[in-house]
């Protein structure tokens, strides 16, 4: 009895395999060197929930490959787990997710696979330049961009109108003037909040051409005195000094949600991914929010910067690199991409940013604005040449420490904070084996 059931099961599976194999083989990608004869299980570590959407299509193409997408934690949790796996020499995934700023931390010590051996450069032209720049370290691609966070201005139109600001500020000078008008509404009304958010400050610096970090292999230079950096720092200092920014509300807190919801926080300078979370944070502001390009340093400019975004890489110790690259390419560039976009992924692929259907997306929350038109433009405008130091994950925590006195009690200036931060980073970086100046 048992045997018969088993035989039937085997037969069914065999038929299924044959069927899927049939449909798959017709349009199987070139996939050079991907073994098709032996069963392979790919382990993918991703906290991006859209990756699993691409799995069924891929498994159809490669019946011998099973893809196992695991959420091994977000950000630092995953990096720690990955580092542990690499050190232990077992349990290393075939593909892992990284925020752009964390790539150098793994790429520079040789923990990631150089993807040029799979011809990754061939698809570089599909990505916006800055996104490709994020995954290129020392001239080699170590990952493929999988989602993108061009900085944009999310603004509460109702509140700005009430304050007498009729159009979203196009320059930072206009932003400053608008901030004063919003503040004049009284009470707790501020144009935005900032509680030592380093990504906010860096996005202003980045947009204005400041390049405070220069990385060449294990040599890192830190300098917060170039023109673009100084301009952004002085501007933000002015905003803080004149009490135009609410420093008492920290991002992602309950207070923040409430401020956005009731309109006392009128704008956010933040990454495009904010579209997915703002509606649930500010349900009462439905219909009031709109998205505008980042204000510019000079009228008429079209510069931009990033705030967030991530990429997928193949660890150097991964076991099935060919198969891993086939899947990586499939869900970040190939036929699997659309399923992720449909599930809400915001990707830096030009094929998508020029797609009519994508550009036509609307949402009642944003007053039926075709907001992807703004975000697609913002993606293309992101200025290139930005680099993060390899120890940015650490530096970010350190920034919160050194900037605390300024944000707590107004002690010192932003420039002083950056100088202290630089000194700490130099000390830490050198201790960790980099050459930091």
């Amino acid at each position: 009895m048992k045997k018969r059931v088993l035989a039937a099961a085997v037969a069914t599976v065999a038929t299924l395999v044959a069927l899927t194999g049939c449909t798959g083989s017709s349009d199987a990608p070139s996939g050079a060197g991907v073994p098709t004869d032996k069963p392979i299980t790919l382990k993918v570590w991703s906290w991006d929930g859209t990756v699993k959407e691409a799995v069924p299509g891929f498994e159809k193409l490669y019946p011998n490959i099973t893809v196992d997408v695991i959420n091994a934690g977000s950000s630092t949790d995953e990096y720690t787990a990955l580092d542990n796996a690499i050190q232990a020499g077992s349990g290393v995934p075939d593909i892992a997710m990284f925020e752009y700023f964390s790539l150098p931390l793994f790429a520079i010590p040789g923990k990631l696979t150089d993807l040029s051996e799979f011809g990754a450069e061939d698809i570089a032209s599909d990505y916006v330049d800055a996104a490709w720049g994020n995954v290129t370290i020392d001239g080699k691609p170590y990952a493929l961009p999988s989602d993108y966070g061009p900085a944009a201005l999310f603004y509460n139109q109702a509140v700005l109108t009430e304050a007498g600001v009729t159009a979203p500020p196009a320059t930072w000078d206009e932003f400053y003037e608008a901030a004063k008008k919003v503040r004049a509404l009284g009470g707790d009304h501020y144009i935005t909040n900032d509680s030592a958010d380093i990504f906010l400050l860096l996005s202003l610096i980045w947009e204005g051409g400041g390049r405070p970090f220069k990385v060449d292999g294990s040599n890192v230079t830190i300098d917060f005195t170039d023109e673009g950096t100084t301009r952004a720092v002085e501007f933000w200092q002015k905003m803080l000094d004149e009490d135009l920014v609410n420093t008492k509300v920290t991002g992602w807190s309950d207070d923040w949600n409430r401020g956005l919801n009731e309109g006392t926080i009128a704008t956010q300078i933040i990454g495009s991914w904010f579209t997915s979370t703002l509606p649930e944070r500010a349900p009462d502001a439905a219909g009031d929010f709109r998205i505008a390009p980042l204000p510019q340093w000079e009228a008429g400019e079209t510069s931009g910067s990033e705030n967030g975004g991530s990429a997928m890489a193949i660890p150097a110790d991964a076991k099935n690199k060919e198969a891993a690259y086939a899947f990586l390419e499939y869900f970040t560039h190939g036929d699997g991409l659309q399923s992720r976009i449909d599930a809400g992924a915001f990707v830096p692929n030009l094929s998508n940013l020029d797609d009519e259907k994508f550009l036509g997306t609307t949402n009642e929350f944003f007053g039926d604005q075709k907001y992807n038109e703004v975000l697609a433009e913002a993606s293309k405008n992101v200025a290139t040449g930005w680099q993060y130091p390899p120890f940015f994950g650490w530096a970010r925590t350190s920034y919160e420490d050194v900037s605390a006195p300024l944000y707590n009690s107004g002690k010192g200036t932003l420039a002083d904070v950056l100088e202290t931060w630089k000194q700490r980073s130099i000390e830490y970086g050198n201790e960790q084996g980099f050459t930091v100046k």
Partner: protein
């Protein structure tokens, strides 16, 4: 002479059976206590660089630690915290235990459970709860400030530690109270009757019977409390994400510092050195408390 020989034989025979009996404990003890501690001590002698890998550095991590102002900042903070919070908490616990034990209150069972209940709430949940309650913008304090026209902020850099003290006291007073209450229950009731016959009033009974009976448990609760407060971690870790400008840094308490060193700075060796130093420090203090406490008990 002959008894010595039989003793020797017994000593010789005993271990084999005895080992079996202690094996479950010994294995657990070895794997969850001895080995991790030895391993921490071992890795505290290494530095794992992002570039260049792992290298033996001897006592460098310890030398660096003793010159690290951030370490002292956190260590002094928890010592001051302990010196203030622990006495307040234990005195409240003793007062509550005496009140319940006085047999003059109604509904003591209910009261006992309610006071103990906060201990059953995970620190993560209670910190969130207190965070919302003490928040100045929308919490209870916010409403009070509005009503009274004041601007008191429980999470300013100067007051955050006090708020954490309130949370810890709320959470652990009930637990300590139960320990004291159990000690009081162990006192034979006849003693009170005898004292009453001798003309002692309730105050005398507390002073000369109940308080001395609490001495042993006091030593235990002090040691537990010191260990607990030195390991302060959950509250500052959660509050840091909940409220802004609270003054909570990545090195706010030694445990938080060790955690951040290990997991954001990947300085595991340095973090291990910090953990070992804090453990030795805690052990030293607990030992002093025990010796002093026990000596007093013996002298009585």
């Amino acid at each position: 002479m002959s008894s010595a020989t039989t003793n020797a034989i017994r000593v010789h025979k005993r271990p084999k059976v005895g080992l079996l009996f202690i094996a479950p404990f010994a294995v657990l003890f070895l794997f969850v206590l001895v080995i991790p501690i030895c391993y921490s001590a071992y890795i505290s002698l290494f530095q794992n660089k992002l570039i260049g890998g792992n290298a033996f550095v001897g006592l460098d991590n310890y030398i660096k630690l003793f010159n690290d102002p951030q370490f002292y900042d956190g260590a002094i903070r928890v010592v001051v915290f302990t010196a203030i919070q622990v006495p307040i908490m234990l005195l409240s616990a003793i007062a509550l235990a005496l009140a319940i034990d006085s047999l003059r209150l109604h509904g003591t069972k209910f009261f006992r459970v309610v006071v103990f209940l906060p201990y059953a709430i995970p620190a993560i949940v209670s910190t969130l709860m207190w965070g919302f309650m003490l928040g100045i913008r929308y919490g209870l304090i916010g409403s009070l400030n509005e009503a009274a026209g004041t601007s008191f902020d429980p999470f300013a850099p100067e007051t955050t530690m006090i708020s954490i003290g309130v949370m810890a006291t709320w959470g652990f007073t009930g637990y300590n109270m139960l320990i004291f209450y159990a000690a009081l229950r162990a006192v034979p009731r006849e003693l009170y009757e005898a004292a009453a016959i001798d003309g002692a009033n309730e105050f005398h009974i507390v002073r000369y019977i109940k308080l001395p009976a609490l001495r042993g448990s006091l030593v235990v609760t002090i040691i537990f409390s010191i260990i607990g407060t030195f390991q302060l971690f959950n509250e500052p870790n959660i509050l840091a994400t909940l409220v802004s400008n609270s003054g909570i840094t990545s090195y706010y308490t030694p445990n938080l510092y060790a955690y951040n060193l290990a997991f954001t700075g990947s300085q595991q060796g340095y973090a291990a050195a910090l953990a070992i130093v804090m453990a030795l420090f805690t052990i030293a203090i607990a030992y002093v408390v025990q010796i002093k406490g026990m000596k007093n008990v013996l002298n009585k």
